[in-house]
Symmetry: C2
Subunit: 333 residues, 2 copies
């Protein structure tokens, strides 16, 4: 049984946008995926966002008049209070896209706007890995490392829309790796899925032992090597791969520890493809956190995997819509 009011959330990604209707208890009522096709321009993109939202409502059997509010989550640099995407790296050639104003006008509904990792955090906090917690920190592990922080009612957007850029905490000064952001020593340069593949190629170059990864690279080419290949080889007992996985767990533990020593949340959540590595990898991270963090948070902070998968973004966008709706209702009550 679904529970009104209803919301629709939309998560816009580099290749796909995914929308879903969500009820007031956070149940998913529908989900719809459409290709983003950023290269066809932002006007088409904005119309497609509205289309995805309308379809998600229809698929859930809802008229748009039954939707209380919508939420849109997008990647890249943005001005969250203004509701504008600025220069999204994965959505060329979009620039200065007035997402919230367009969607709000087109659908005539209250519209929330949020960064995609913040939205995912809000989703996991509401009905996922941190349901019932007071506060959480989320790391999303993919091409880069994104982050989201939720403290009670507050999603930490930051004053300049740069809150929870957790992949860009500096964790190394002496011999810092170059990061995709152009800087050096960022967590992302060590522990993103892309960084795992890079580190593997580097390690292979200096490794004289036997490794299944060497054959794999020769077979499919260095650029095709994935983080998943490395984790799979480690599971099969490959010594070099095991070392790389262990180091990755350590780097992620450093990131978690820093977040714990700044925010001290109830729960630290890891999301993204890398969590396919399962419980043993999480146990490694926990072990390192136990040695790196202060005793009390080390003992009490829950370290978990995300639970909502690729739906976290639209569920979180719907959570932002719900928050907007509730604040508006309180404001007018």
């Amino acid at each position: 049984m679904s529970q009104p009011p209803y919301y629709v959330g939309l998560d816009v990604g580099g290749s796909t946008m995914k929308a879903g209707a969500v009820d007031d208890a956070g149940h998913r009522l529908s989900s719809v995926s459409l290709p983003t096709e950023a290269e066809r321009g932002q006007d088409l993109g904005l119309r497609r966002m509205c289309e995805a939202i309308r379809r998600a409502a229809a698929e859930a059997g809802l008229a748009m008049s039954q939707v209380a509010a919508v939420g849109v989550a997008t990647p890249g640099t943005m001005d969250i209070p203004a509701g504008v995407m600025l220069d999204p790296f994965n959505l060329k050639p979009w620039q200065n896209v007035p997402v919230r104003a367009f969607v709000q006008r087109e659908l005539a509904l209250p519209t929330a706007f949020q960064n995609d990792a913040n939205a995912a955090a809000h989703g996991e906090f509401w009905v996922g890995a941190s349901r019932g917690a007071h506060s959480m920190v989320l790391f999303t592990l993919g091409t880069g490392i994104g982050g989201g922080i939720v403290l009670g009612e507050l999603v930490v957007e930051g004053e300049h829309s740069h809150g929870a850029e957790l992949g860009h905490m500096k964790i190394e000064m002496t011999n810092p790796r170059r990061c995709g952001c152009g800087g050096y020593g960022c967590l992302e340069a060590y522990a993103s899925a892309t960084a795992v593949a890079h580190r593997t190629l580097e390690a292979l170059a200096g490794y004289s032992g036997t490794s299944a990864l060497r054959a794999l690279v020769e077979q499919k080419g260095a650029e095709a090597l994935t983080c998943r290949d490395v984790f799979t080889a480690a599971e099969a007992g490959d010594a070099l791969a095991e070392r790389l996985v262990e180091e990755t767990a350590y780097y992620l533990a450093v990131g978690a520890t820093n977040a714990m020593h700044v925010i001290d949340p109830d729960v630290v959540v890891f999301a993204g493809g890398m969590i396919a590595a399962g419980e043993p990898f999480l146990e490694r991270i926990r072990g390192h956190v136990g040695r790196l963090a202060f005793p009390v948070p080390a003992a009490r902070t829950h370290i978990r995997y995300a639970q909502l998968g690729t739906d976290a973004g639209f569920i979180g966008a719907a959570a932002c819509a719900r928050q907007l709706h509730r604040r508006t209702c309180q404001g007018t009550a």
Copy 2:
């Protein structure tokens, strides 16, 4: 003209406790310092806290019945929601001291309890370096590095009273320095006043050039060398001291950048004895942040020195008392 309601804040330090009456606009109406004398036991300590609060009220010409609430800030490990100091490093042999319950019962007034660095942050946020800001991060530079984070109405205490332990963000993995906390690679191990003195002795051992610091160490002994000595030598043009000051600015910029990439506040504030180094040192920190942080926060985040000096703790404790009073009033309104 002072503005009721009135509050009294108390900041308990290792050697001295300082209390002051503060009005609703944050004006200091009095200040009283008493020796902490922790070695004489916590019962005496608790009674002296009440004595300091009473004297601060009296010195401001206030009867205790005119005080709306009091706030107490203390150092070391604590359970903030419980109002208990656990095992304060600088206040041996105190343990499990029920500060809030005692003060509240003894003075029959609503009593707020807070970590000293969080309180200092609250004070600077209310009427100091961040007056009028939406959010701030504070670093206190002393024997260690403490921290405080204020986001609007929220002082980030953390779920386990370990929020804003900013000195214990890990910033180095390859060749990490040992920290006073027992861990490795913490910001505090690089950029506290104590760390500056340690790094100087280390640098002198491997330095063949001329430095006034060598003569100073020979004259007063290695253990007597202070951070201030190093900054003074740098101002006089000593090349080694200049290098150490420059490195310290860099380390602090790494800390500020990490805080900016997690919290993205309006203002980053540095407090403690080291800020006697003045504007040139702050400019060095700003320069490094400009290169380390993302362009938008780097350009827009204000980086400032604290303004309340050693009164920040009691003013911030009074701010916590004021917050408690206002919440209580709202709750019963």
